[in-house]
Amino acid sequence: MNLEAVLPLFIFIAIVFLIGIWAGKFVSRSDSFLQEYFLGGRSLGGFILAMTLVTTYGSASSFLSGPGTAYNEGLGWVLLSMTQLATGYFVLMVLGKRFAIVTRKYKTVTIVDFLKERYQSKWVVILSAASILIFLFSAMSAQWIGGARLIQSLTGISYFTSLCIFSLAVLVYVVVGGFRAVAITDGIQGIIMFLGTLILLIAVVIAGGGVSQIMSDLAAENPNLITPFGADGSLTPAYVSSFWVLVGVGVVALPQIAVRAMSYKNAKALHRGIIISTFVVGFIMLNMHLIGVFGRTVLPGIEIGDTVMPELAQAVLPGWAAGIVLAAPMAAIMTTVNSLLLMVSSTIVKDVYLNYVRPDAGDTTIRRWSMGATALIGIIVILMSLQPPDLIIWLNLFSMGGLEAAFIWPIILGLYWRRGTKHGAIASMLTGVISYIIFESFYPQPFGMHSVVTSMMLAFVAYVSGSLLYKKESLPCEIV
Protein backbone atom coordinates (compact mmCIF):
# COMPACT_ATOMS: atom_id res chain seq x y z
CA MET A 1 0.00 0.00 0.00
CA ASN A 2 1.22 3.49 -0.78
CA LEU A 3 2.72 5.86 1.73
CA GLU A 4 0.14 8.52 0.94
CA ALA A 5 -2.58 6.42 2.55
CA VAL A 6 -0.47 4.99 5.37
CA LEU A 7 0.65 8.39 6.58
CA PRO A 8 -2.82 9.73 7.59
CA LEU A 9 -3.42 6.44 9.39
CA PHE A 10 -0.29 6.77 11.50
CA ILE A 11 -0.88 10.45 12.14
CA PHE A 12 -4.34 9.49 13.36
CA ILE A 13 -2.98 6.83 15.72
CA ALA A 14 -0.41 9.31 17.04
CA ILE A 15 -3.06 11.99 17.69
CA VAL A 16 -5.28 9.56 19.57
CA PHE A 17 -2.29 8.47 21.62
CA LEU A 18 -1.33 12.04 22.56
CA ILE A 19 -4.87 13.05 23.49
CA GLY A 20 -5.18 9.94 25.63
CA ILE A 21 -2.02 10.83 27.50
CA TRP A 22 -3.22 14.41 27.95
CA ALA A 23 -6.49 13.17 29.48
CA GLY A 24 -4.41 11.24 31.98
CA LYS A 25 -3.66 14.40 33.93
CA PHE A 26 -7.20 14.36 35.34
CA VAL A 27 -6.44 11.12 37.10
CA SER A 28 -3.65 12.61 39.18
CA ARG A 29 -5.77 15.64 40.07
CA SER A 30 -8.90 13.84 41.15
CA ASP A 31 -9.76 13.40 44.81
CA SER A 32 -11.52 10.08 44.29
CA PHE A 33 -9.25 7.86 42.28
CA LEU A 34 -11.74 5.01 41.73
CA GLN A 35 -14.58 7.25 40.52
CA GLU A 36 -12.21 9.08 38.21
CA TYR A 37 -10.24 6.16 36.83
CA PHE A 38 -13.13 3.79 36.15
CA LEU A 39 -15.94 6.28 35.55
CA GLY A 40 -14.37 9.60 34.57
CA GLY A 41 -15.73 11.20 37.75
CA ARG A 42 -19.31 10.99 36.39
CA SER A 43 -18.70 14.13 34.41
CA LEU A 44 -19.36 13.26 30.76
CA GLY A 45 -21.26 15.76 28.67
CA GLY A 46 -23.85 14.77 26.07
CA PHE A 47 -21.58 14.64 23.06
CA ILE A 48 -18.84 12.55 24.64
CA LEU A 49 -21.48 10.30 26.25
CA ALA A 50 -23.07 9.62 22.87
CA MET A 51 -19.75 9.06 21.13
CA THR A 52 -18.30 6.72 23.73
CA LEU A 53 -21.54 4.73 23.72
CA VAL A 54 -21.71 4.38 19.95
CA THR A 55 -18.00 3.70 19.42
CA THR A 56 -17.79 1.15 22.21
CA TYR A 57 -20.66 -0.69 20.62
CA GLY A 58 -19.52 -0.23 17.02
CA SER A 59 -16.60 -2.59 16.51
CA ALA A 60 -14.73 -4.38 13.75
CA SER A 61 -18.02 -5.95 12.72
CA SER A 62 -19.63 -2.61 11.88
CA PHE A 63 -16.82 -1.57 9.53
CA LEU A 64 -15.31 -4.80 8.21
CA SER A 65 -17.35 -7.99 8.50
CA GLY A 66 -20.73 -6.19 8.42
CA PRO A 67 -20.19 -4.44 5.07
CA GLY A 68 -18.56 -7.66 3.85
CA THR A 69 -21.72 -9.63 4.60
CA ALA A 70 -23.87 -6.90 3.06
CA TYR A 71 -21.71 -7.19 -0.07
CA ASN A 72 -22.72 -10.84 -0.33
CA GLU A 73 -26.31 -10.68 0.93
CA GLY A 74 -27.55 -7.38 -0.52
CA LEU A 75 -30.13 -5.00 0.96
CA GLY A 76 -31.51 -7.70 3.28
CA TRP A 77 -28.40 -7.35 5.39
CA VAL A 78 -28.76 -3.57 5.58
CA LEU A 79 -32.29 -4.16 6.83
CA LEU A 80 -30.87 -6.46 9.50
CA SER A 81 -28.20 -3.97 10.49
CA MET A 82 -30.84 -1.28 11.00
CA THR A 83 -32.10 -3.18 14.05
CA GLN A 84 -29.14 -1.50 15.75
CA LEU A 85 -30.76 1.93 15.43
CA ALA A 86 -32.60 1.11 18.66
CA THR A 87 -29.37 1.02 20.68
CA GLY A 88 -29.01 4.76 20.12
CA TYR A 89 -32.02 5.74 22.23
CA PHE A 90 -33.07 2.55 24.02
CA VAL A 91 -30.06 2.06 26.30
CA LEU A 92 -30.04 5.60 27.61
CA MET A 93 -33.83 5.83 27.91
CA VAL A 94 -34.44 2.51 29.63
CA LEU A 95 -31.57 2.52 32.09
CA GLY A 96 -32.04 6.25 32.06
CA LYS A 97 -32.36 8.51 35.04
CA ARG A 98 -33.33 5.75 37.41
CA PHE A 99 -30.02 3.97 36.85
CA ALA A 100 -28.16 7.26 37.22
CA ILE A 101 -29.93 8.08 40.49
CA VAL A 102 -29.60 4.61 42.01
CA THR A 103 -25.92 4.23 41.11
CA ARG A 104 -25.20 7.64 42.63
CA LYS A 105 -26.96 6.61 45.83
CA TYR A 106 -24.92 3.45 45.99
CA LYS A 107 -21.77 5.25 44.79
CA THR A 108 -21.17 2.37 42.42
CA VAL A 109 -18.43 2.46 39.83
CA THR A 110 -19.04 -0.79 37.93
CA ILE A 111 -21.99 -2.96 36.92
CA VAL A 112 -20.92 -5.68 39.35
CA ASP A 113 -20.83 -2.99 42.04
CA PHE A 114 -24.43 -2.14 41.26
CA LEU A 115 -25.50 -5.79 41.37
CA LYS A 116 -23.65 -6.27 44.65
CA GLU A 117 -25.45 -3.38 46.33
CA ARG A 118 -28.79 -4.35 44.86
CA TYR A 119 -28.75 -8.02 45.76
CA GLN A 120 -26.31 -8.08 48.70
CA SER A 121 -25.06 -11.48 47.65
CA LYS A 122 -21.57 -12.88 47.27
CA TRP A 123 -22.73 -15.35 44.63
CA VAL A 124 -24.21 -12.66 42.44
CA VAL A 125 -20.85 -10.88 42.55
CA ILE A 126 -18.86 -13.99 41.79
CA LEU A 127 -21.09 -15.11 38.91
CA SER A 128 -21.27 -11.69 37.32
CA ALA A 129 -17.55 -10.99 37.70
CA ALA A 130 -16.78 -14.41 36.23
CA SER A 131 -19.02 -13.89 33.20
CA ILE A 132 -17.50 -10.46 32.56
CA LEU A 133 -13.95 -11.76 32.84
CA ILE A 134 -14.53 -14.81 30.63
CA PHE A 135 -16.66 -13.25 27.91
CA LEU A 136 -15.16 -9.78 27.73
CA PHE A 137 -11.61 -11.03 27.88
CA SER A 138 -12.20 -13.24 24.87
CA ALA A 139 -14.11 -10.52 23.03
CA MET A 140 -11.24 -8.13 23.68
CA SER A 141 -8.65 -10.61 22.43
CA ALA A 142 -10.59 -11.14 19.21
CA GLN A 143 -10.81 -7.38 18.57
CA TRP A 144 -7.17 -6.93 19.49
CA ILE A 145 -6.12 -9.50 16.90
CA GLY A 146 -8.42 -7.74 14.41
CA GLY A 147 -6.68 -4.42 15.08
CA ALA A 148 -3.23 -5.86 14.47
CA ARG A 149 -4.37 -7.69 11.32
CA LEU A 150 -5.90 -4.48 9.97
CA ILE A 151 -2.61 -2.58 10.37
CA GLN A 152 -0.81 -5.52 8.81
CA SER A 153 -3.07 -5.67 5.76
CA LEU A 154 -3.06 -1.90 5.22
CA THR A 155 0.64 -1.26 5.62
CA GLY A 156 2.23 -4.56 4.74
CA ILE A 157 4.41 -4.63 7.85
CA SER A 158 4.63 -7.90 9.78
CA TYR A 159 1.92 -9.12 12.14
CA PHE A 160 4.25 -8.91 15.13
CA THR A 161 5.22 -5.29 14.47
CA SER A 162 1.60 -4.39 13.75
CA LEU A 163 0.58 -5.95 17.03
CA CYS A 164 3.23 -3.92 18.87
CA ILE A 165 2.14 -0.65 17.24
CA PHE A 166 -1.52 -1.30 17.98
CA SER A 167 -0.86 -2.38 21.56
CA LEU A 168 1.38 0.55 22.34
CA ALA A 169 -1.18 2.99 20.92
CA VAL A 170 -4.04 1.64 23.02
CA LEU A 171 -2.42 0.32 26.15
CA VAL A 172 -0.44 3.32 27.32
CA TYR A 173 -3.24 5.86 27.39
CA VAL A 174 -5.78 3.49 28.91
CA VAL A 175 -3.36 2.59 31.71
CA VAL A 176 -2.44 6.20 32.39
CA GLY A 177 -5.73 7.96 31.73
CA GLY A 178 -8.50 5.49 32.60
CA PHE A 179 -12.13 6.09 31.68
CA ARG A 180 -11.79 9.75 30.84
CA ALA A 181 -8.97 9.08 28.38
CA VAL A 182 -11.08 6.33 26.84
CA ALA A 183 -14.17 8.55 26.56
CA ILE A 184 -12.34 11.57 25.12
CA THR A 185 -10.44 9.53 22.52
CA ASP A 186 -13.76 7.81 21.71
CA GLY A 187 -15.16 11.25 20.93
CA ILE A 188 -12.38 12.00 18.43
CA GLN A 189 -12.55 8.56 16.89
CA GLY A 190 -16.33 8.74 16.63
CA ILE A 191 -15.93 11.82 14.44
CA ILE A 192 -13.45 9.92 12.26
CA MET A 193 -15.86 6.98 11.95
CA PHE A 194 -18.65 9.36 10.96
CA LEU A 195 -16.57 11.25 8.39
CA GLY A 196 -15.03 8.07 6.99
CA THR A 197 -18.50 6.64 6.41
CA LEU A 198 -19.72 9.82 4.73
CA ILE A 199 -16.72 10.19 2.41
CA LEU A 200 -16.75 6.57 1.34
CA LEU A 201 -20.52 6.56 0.76
CA ILE A 202 -20.34 9.53 -1.58
CA ALA A 203 -17.35 8.12 -3.46
CA VAL A 204 -18.95 4.69 -3.90
CA VAL A 205 -22.26 6.11 -5.14
CA ILE A 206 -20.38 8.20 -7.70
CA ALA A 207 -18.18 5.29 -8.75
CA GLY A 208 -21.27 3.06 -9.17
CA GLY A 209 -22.99 5.63 -11.40
CA GLY A 210 -25.76 6.69 -8.98
CA VAL A 211 -28.19 4.74 -6.82
CA SER A 212 -30.62 3.84 -9.64
CA GLN A 213 -27.81 2.47 -11.78
CA ILE A 214 -26.43 0.45 -8.86
CA MET A 215 -29.85 -1.03 -8.05
CA SER A 216 -30.51 -2.10 -11.62
CA ASP A 217 -27.00 -3.62 -11.84
CA LEU A 218 -27.72 -5.58 -8.65
CA ALA A 219 -31.13 -6.71 -9.87
CA ALA A 220 -29.60 -7.82 -13.16
CA GLU A 221 -27.00 -9.91 -11.34
CA ASN A 222 -29.38 -11.48 -8.81
CA PRO A 223 -32.83 -10.00 -8.08
CA ASN A 224 -32.66 -11.38 -4.54
CA LEU A 225 -29.97 -8.81 -3.72
CA ILE A 226 -32.59 -6.04 -3.67
CA THR A 227 -35.18 -7.99 -1.65
CA PRO A 228 -35.27 -8.18 2.16
CA PHE A 229 -34.52 -11.92 2.01
CA GLY A 230 -30.81 -12.13 1.22
CA ALA A 231 -28.91 -13.45 -1.81
CA ASP A 232 -30.36 -16.96 -1.63
CA GLY A 233 -33.64 -16.00 0.04
CA SER A 234 -32.64 -17.55 3.36
CA LEU A 235 -33.02 -14.47 5.61
CA THR A 236 -36.47 -15.14 7.07
CA PRO A 237 -38.48 -12.37 8.76
CA ALA A 238 -38.35 -14.25 12.09
CA TYR A 239 -34.58 -14.61 11.97
CA VAL A 240 -33.90 -11.02 10.92
CA SER A 241 -36.41 -9.70 13.48
CA SER A 242 -34.68 -11.60 16.27
CA PHE A 243 -31.69 -9.30 15.80
CA TRP A 244 -33.84 -6.64 17.45
CA VAL A 245 -33.04 -8.57 20.59
CA LEU A 246 -29.37 -9.45 19.99
CA VAL A 247 -28.07 -6.15 18.62
CA GLY A 248 -30.98 -3.86 19.52
CA VAL A 249 -32.60 -3.92 22.94
CA GLY A 250 -30.30 -6.62 24.37
CA VAL A 251 -27.32 -4.28 24.12
CA VAL A 252 -28.65 -2.59 27.27
CA ALA A 253 -27.26 -5.57 29.22
CA LEU A 254 -23.69 -5.44 27.91
CA PRO A 255 -21.62 -4.32 30.91
CA GLN A 256 -19.29 -2.12 28.84
CA ILE A 257 -22.37 -0.31 27.49
CA ALA A 258 -24.42 -0.18 30.69
CA VAL A 259 -21.51 1.30 32.67
CA ARG A 260 -21.66 4.31 30.36
CA ALA A 261 -25.22 4.94 31.47
CA MET A 262 -23.88 5.93 34.90
CA SER A 263 -21.06 8.14 33.70
CA TYR A 264 -22.84 11.31 32.57
CA LYS A 265 -22.94 14.60 34.38
CA ASN A 266 -26.63 15.51 34.55
CA ALA A 267 -30.04 15.17 32.92
CA LYS A 268 -29.13 17.64 30.15
CA ALA A 269 -26.14 15.52 29.16
CA LEU A 270 -28.42 12.48 29.03
CA HIS A 271 -30.94 14.25 26.81
CA ARG A 272 -28.30 15.43 24.39
CA GLY A 273 -26.60 12.04 24.49
CA ILE A 274 -29.81 10.27 23.46
CA ILE A 275 -30.31 12.48 20.42
CA ILE A 276 -26.70 12.43 19.26
CA SER A 277 -26.19 8.71 19.73
CA THR A 278 -29.38 7.84 17.82
CA PHE A 279 -28.21 9.95 14.93
CA VAL A 280 -24.64 8.68 14.86
CA VAL A 281 -25.45 4.99 15.28
CA GLY A 282 -28.21 5.14 12.65
CA PHE A 283 -26.02 7.03 10.21
CA ILE A 284 -23.02 4.73 10.54
CA MET A 285 -24.97 1.44 10.50
CA LEU A 286 -27.20 2.38 7.57
CA ASN A 287 -24.48 3.83 5.38
CA MET A 288 -21.61 1.48 6.18
CA HIS A 289 -23.74 -1.51 5.22
CA LEU A 290 -25.12 0.27 2.17
CA ILE A 291 -21.52 0.88 1.10
CA GLY A 292 -20.98 -2.87 1.22
CA VAL A 293 -24.00 -3.49 -1.04
CA PHE A 294 -23.07 -0.70 -3.47
CA GLY A 295 -19.51 -1.99 -3.55
CA ARG A 296 -20.66 -5.16 -5.23
CA THR A 297 -21.30 -3.32 -8.49
CA VAL A 298 -18.18 -1.15 -8.19
CA LEU A 299 -15.70 -3.88 -7.38
CA PRO A 300 -17.18 -7.33 -8.09
CA GLY A 301 -15.59 -10.62 -7.12
CA ILE A 302 -14.07 -9.85 -3.71
CA GLU A 303 -13.91 -13.16 -1.88
CA ILE A 304 -12.98 -12.30 1.70
CA GLY A 305 -15.77 -10.26 3.28
CA ASP A 306 -13.54 -8.38 5.72
CA THR A 307 -11.48 -6.88 2.89
CA VAL A 308 -14.45 -5.36 1.03
CA MET A 309 -14.34 -2.03 2.82
CA PRO A 310 -10.53 -1.49 2.67
CA GLU A 311 -10.38 -2.53 -0.99
CA LEU A 312 -13.27 -0.26 -1.92
CA ALA A 313 -11.69 2.69 -0.14
CA GLN A 314 -8.45 2.22 -2.02
CA ALA A 315 -10.22 1.71 -5.35
CA VAL A 316 -12.55 4.71 -5.30
CA LEU A 317 -10.60 7.32 -3.34
CA PRO A 318 -7.31 9.16 -3.78
CA GLY A 319 -4.56 7.85 -1.46
CA TRP A 320 -4.77 10.48 1.28
CA ALA A 321 -8.56 10.26 1.48
CA ALA A 322 -8.40 6.45 1.61
CA GLY A 323 -6.07 6.86 4.57
CA ILE A 324 -8.66 8.92 6.45
CA VAL A 325 -11.45 6.48 5.60
CA LEU A 326 -9.34 3.51 6.69
CA ALA A 327 -8.73 5.19 10.01
CA ALA A 328 -12.46 4.57 10.65
CA PRO A 329 -12.33 0.77 11.14
CA MET A 330 -9.09 1.30 13.05
CA ALA A 331 -10.96 3.72 15.32
CA ALA A 332 -13.87 1.31 15.66
CA ILE A 333 -11.53 -1.40 16.91
CA MET A 334 -9.51 0.85 19.20
CA THR A 335 -12.60 2.33 20.83
CA THR A 336 -14.05 -1.09 21.55
CA VAL A 337 -10.79 -2.51 22.84
CA ASN A 338 -10.02 0.38 25.18
CA SER A 339 -13.43 0.11 26.88
CA LEU A 340 -13.20 -3.64 27.22
CA LEU A 341 -9.73 -3.38 28.71
CA LEU A 342 -10.89 -0.94 31.35
CA MET A 343 -14.01 -3.01 32.03
CA VAL A 344 -11.98 -6.16 32.66
CA SER A 345 -9.51 -4.31 34.83
CA SER A 346 -12.25 -2.62 36.88
CA THR A 347 -13.82 -6.03 37.47
CA ILE A 348 -10.57 -7.42 38.81
CA VAL A 349 -9.61 -4.43 40.93
CA LYS A 350 -12.92 -3.07 42.14
CA ASP A 351 -15.11 -6.14 42.19
CA VAL A 352 -12.70 -8.86 43.19
CA TYR A 353 -9.63 -7.31 44.83
CA LEU A 354 -11.33 -4.53 46.82
CA ASN A 355 -14.36 -6.62 47.71
CA TYR A 356 -12.70 -9.76 48.91
CA VAL A 357 -8.92 -9.47 49.03
CA ARG A 358 -8.15 -6.06 50.49
CA PRO A 359 -11.31 -4.14 51.43
CA ASP A 360 -9.21 -1.71 53.50
CA ALA A 361 -6.75 -0.77 50.75
CA GLY A 362 -5.59 2.86 50.80
CA ASP A 363 -5.69 5.27 47.90
CA THR A 364 -2.09 4.70 46.83
CA THR A 365 -2.55 0.94 46.84
CA ILE A 366 -5.74 1.20 44.79
CA ARG A 367 -4.01 3.48 42.34
CA ARG A 368 -1.06 1.16 41.94
CA TRP A 369 -3.32 -1.87 41.62
CA SER A 370 -5.67 -0.31 39.07
CA MET A 371 -2.93 0.84 36.73
CA GLY A 372 -0.95 -2.36 37.32
CA ALA A 373 -3.93 -4.59 36.59
CA THR A 374 -4.82 -2.67 33.43
CA ALA A 375 -1.26 -2.94 32.16
CA LEU A 376 -0.98 -6.60 33.09
CA ILE A 377 -4.24 -7.56 31.34
CA GLY A 378 -3.08 -5.68 28.28
CA ILE A 379 0.19 -7.59 28.25
CA ILE A 380 -1.59 -10.94 28.65
CA VAL A 381 -3.84 -10.07 25.72
CA ILE A 382 -0.82 -9.14 23.59
CA LEU A 383 0.90 -12.42 24.40
CA MET A 384 -2.26 -14.35 23.57
CA SER A 385 -2.68 -12.46 20.32
CA LEU A 386 0.66 -13.80 19.13
CA GLN A 387 -0.88 -17.24 18.96
CA PRO A 388 -4.56 -17.10 19.87
CA PRO A 389 -5.70 -20.18 21.80
CA ASP A 390 -8.74 -21.97 20.35
CA LEU A 391 -10.59 -21.52 23.63
CA ILE A 392 -10.53 -17.73 23.24
CA ILE A 393 -11.88 -17.93 19.71
CA TRP A 394 -14.59 -20.34 20.84
CA LEU A 395 -15.62 -18.21 23.80
CA ASN A 396 -15.73 -15.05 21.70
CA LEU A 397 -18.55 -16.57 19.64
CA PHE A 398 -20.73 -16.58 22.75
CA SER A 399 -19.59 -13.32 24.21
CA MET A 400 -22.29 -10.91 23.10
CA GLY A 401 -25.33 -13.15 23.50
CA GLY A 402 -23.89 -14.76 26.62
CA LEU A 403 -23.43 -11.45 28.42
CA GLU A 404 -26.87 -10.26 27.37
CA ALA A 405 -28.56 -13.45 28.57
CA ALA A 406 -26.66 -13.25 31.85
CA PHE A 407 -27.22 -9.60 32.71
CA ILE A 408 -30.42 -8.35 31.14
CA TRP A 409 -32.84 -9.37 33.90
CA PRO A 410 -30.57 -8.88 36.92
CA ILE A 411 -29.94 -5.31 35.71
CA ILE A 412 -33.37 -4.32 34.36
CA LEU A 413 -35.60 -6.09 36.86
CA GLY A 414 -33.15 -5.33 39.66
CA LEU A 415 -33.59 -1.69 38.83
CA TYR A 416 -37.35 -1.55 38.35
CA TRP A 417 -38.88 -4.57 40.08
CA ARG A 418 -38.80 -4.35 43.82
CA ARG A 419 -39.49 -8.00 44.48
CA GLY A 420 -36.52 -9.28 42.52
CA THR A 421 -34.10 -11.11 44.80
CA LYS A 422 -30.64 -12.59 44.73
CA HIS A 423 -32.14 -16.03 44.15
CA GLY A 424 -33.83 -14.74 41.04
CA ALA A 425 -30.64 -13.05 39.84
CA ILE A 426 -28.46 -16.12 40.37
CA ALA A 427 -31.01 -18.43 38.69
CA SER A 428 -31.37 -15.99 35.81
CA MET A 429 -27.63 -15.64 35.16
CA LEU A 430 -27.01 -19.37 35.25
CA THR A 431 -30.03 -20.20 33.10
CA GLY A 432 -29.22 -17.47 30.59
CA VAL A 433 -25.58 -18.33 30.00
CA ILE A 434 -25.88 -22.11 30.11
CA SER A 435 -28.96 -22.28 27.90
CA TYR A 436 -27.38 -19.89 25.43
CA ILE A 437 -24.23 -21.95 25.08
CA ILE A 438 -26.26 -25.15 24.72
CA PHE A 439 -28.59 -23.66 22.11
CA GLU A 440 -25.76 -22.15 20.10
CA SER A 441 -23.79 -25.41 20.15
CA PHE A 442 -26.50 -27.98 19.56
CA TYR A 443 -29.72 -26.32 18.47
CA PRO A 444 -29.08 -22.97 16.82
CA GLN A 445 -32.09 -20.86 15.91
CA PRO A 446 -34.89 -22.34 17.98
CA PHE A 447 -38.27 -21.19 16.52
CA GLY A 448 -36.35 -19.78 13.54
CA MET A 449 -34.86 -17.03 15.69
CA HIS A 450 -31.41 -16.27 17.04
CA SER A 451 -30.93 -18.39 20.17
CA VAL A 452 -30.41 -15.34 22.39
CA VAL A 453 -34.19 -14.76 22.26
CA THR A 454 -35.07 -18.14 23.74
CA SER A 455 -32.28 -17.92 26.33
CA MET A 456 -33.50 -14.53 27.48
CA MET A 457 -37.03 -15.85 27.86
CA LEU A 458 -35.81 -18.76 29.94
CA ALA A 459 -33.69 -16.39 32.00
CA PHE A 460 -36.76 -14.22 32.58
CA VAL A 461 -38.78 -17.17 33.85
CA ALA A 462 -35.85 -18.14 36.09
CA TYR A 463 -35.58 -14.62 37.51
CA VAL A 464 -39.26 -14.26 38.30
CA SER A 465 -39.74 -17.73 39.71
CA GLY A 466 -36.46 -17.59 41.67
CA SER A 467 -37.51 -14.29 43.20
CA LEU A 468 -41.06 -15.28 44.07
CA LEU A 469 -40.25 -18.73 45.45
CA TYR A 470 -37.91 -17.26 48.05
CA LYS A 471 -40.05 -14.24 48.69
CA LYS A 472 -39.78 -14.13 52.47
CA GLU A 473 -36.04 -13.88 52.65
CA SER A 474 -35.99 -10.93 50.37
CA LEU A 475 -38.03 -8.48 52.42
CA PRO A 476 -35.60 -5.87 53.65
CA CYS A 477 -35.43 -5.77 57.44
CA GLU A 478 -32.72 -3.24 58.12
CA ILE A 479 -33.82 0.34 58.51
CA VAL A 480 -31.27 3.06 58.26
Binding site: G96, P228, N266, I275
Partner: protein, 91 residues
Protein backbone atom coordinates in the same frame (compact mmCIF):
# COMPACT_ATOMS: atom_id res chain seq x y z
CA UNK B 1 -31.58 -2.85 48.58
CA UNK B 2 -32.80 -0.83 51.49
CA UNK B 3 -36.38 0.22 51.95
CA UNK B 4 -35.92 3.94 51.50
CA UNK B 5 -34.07 3.49 48.27
CA UNK B 6 -37.26 2.40 46.58
CA UNK B 7 -38.99 5.62 47.52
CA UNK B 8 -37.86 8.60 45.57
CA UNK B 9 -40.13 11.11 43.87
CA UNK B 10 -37.80 11.27 40.90
CA UNK B 11 -38.50 7.61 40.07
CA UNK B 12 -41.94 8.54 38.78
CA UNK B 13 -40.37 10.71 36.12
CA UNK B 14 -37.65 8.15 35.43
CA UNK B 15 -40.13 5.29 35.06
CA UNK B 16 -42.25 7.25 32.63
CA UNK B 17 -39.21 8.04 30.51
CA UNK B 18 -38.18 4.39 30.48
CA UNK B 19 -41.65 3.43 29.24
CA UNK B 20 -41.32 6.04 26.50
CA UNK B 21 -38.13 4.22 25.45
CA UNK B 22 -40.01 0.92 25.30
CA UNK B 23 -42.81 2.56 23.33
CA UNK B 24 -40.36 4.03 20.82
CA UNK B 25 -38.68 0.70 20.22
CA UNK B 26 -42.04 -1.02 19.63
CA UNK B 27 -43.07 1.69 17.19
CA UNK B 28 -39.64 1.45 15.51
CA UNK B 29 -40.02 -2.30 15.11
CA UNK B 30 -43.53 -2.09 13.63
CA UNK B 31 -42.47 0.60 11.15
CA UNK B 32 -39.35 -1.33 10.15
CA UNK B 33 -41.10 -4.68 9.85
CA UNK B 34 -44.28 -3.40 8.20
CA UNK B 35 -42.61 -1.58 5.34
CA UNK B 36 -39.82 -4.08 4.80
CA UNK B 37 -41.97 -7.19 4.54
CA UNK B 38 -45.21 -5.47 3.55
CA UNK B 39 -43.69 -3.88 0.43
CA UNK B 40 -40.66 -6.12 -0.04
CA UNK B 41 -42.41 -9.49 -0.24
CA UNK B 42 -43.63 -9.16 -3.81
CA UNK B 43 -41.42 -10.16 -6.69
CA UNK B 44 -38.52 -7.77 -7.39
CA UNK B 45 -39.77 -7.07 -10.94
CA UNK B 46 -42.82 -5.27 -9.58
CA UNK B 47 -40.90 -3.08 -7.09
CA UNK B 48 -41.39 0.66 -7.07
CA UNK B 49 -38.34 2.83 -6.66
CA UNK B 50 -37.86 6.02 -4.66
CA UNK B 51 -34.63 8.00 -5.13
CA UNK B 52 -33.25 4.89 -6.78
CA UNK B 53 -33.94 2.61 -3.81
CA UNK B 54 -36.61 -0.11 -3.79
CA UNK B 55 -39.66 1.37 -2.02
CA UNK B 56 -39.58 -1.16 0.83
CA UNK B 57 -36.00 -0.24 1.63
CA UNK B 58 -36.55 3.47 1.35
CA UNK B 59 -39.54 3.47 3.70
CA UNK B 60 -38.27 0.90 6.17
CA UNK B 61 -34.61 1.85 6.55
CA UNK B 62 -34.07 5.39 5.24
CA UNK B 63 -37.37 7.08 6.08
CA UNK B 64 -37.56 4.89 9.21
CA UNK B 65 -34.27 6.35 10.40
CA UNK B 66 -35.45 9.90 9.74
CA UNK B 67 -38.79 9.29 11.47
CA UNK B 68 -37.14 7.72 14.53
CA UNK B 69 -34.68 10.58 14.69
CA UNK B 70 -37.52 13.13 14.63
CA UNK B 71 -39.53 11.19 17.22
CA UNK B 72 -36.52 10.91 19.53
CA UNK B 73 -35.86 14.63 19.36
CA UNK B 74 -39.57 15.29 19.92
CA UNK B 75 -39.98 13.12 23.02
CA UNK B 76 -36.70 14.28 24.56
CA UNK B 77 -37.57 17.94 24.06
CA UNK B 78 -41.16 17.73 25.23
CA UNK B 79 -41.47 14.79 27.60
CA UNK B 80 -38.11 14.39 29.28
CA UNK B 81 -37.68 16.34 32.51
CA UNK B 82 -34.54 18.00 33.70
CA UNK B 83 -34.13 16.61 37.23
CA UNK B 84 -31.15 16.43 39.53
CA UNK B 85 -29.51 13.03 39.64
CA UNK B 86 -27.46 13.60 42.76
CA UNK B 87 -27.91 11.42 45.80
CA UNK B 88 -28.09 14.23 48.39
CA UNK B 89 -31.25 15.80 47.09
CA UNK B 90 -33.48 12.81 47.57
CA UNK B 91 -35.71 13.86 50.47
Amino acid sequence: MKEKEWNDKRYKIANREAWIGVGLVIFNFIWWFGFAYGLGSKSPESYHYIFGFPAWFFFSCILGFIVMMALTVFVVKFFFKDVSLEAEEEE
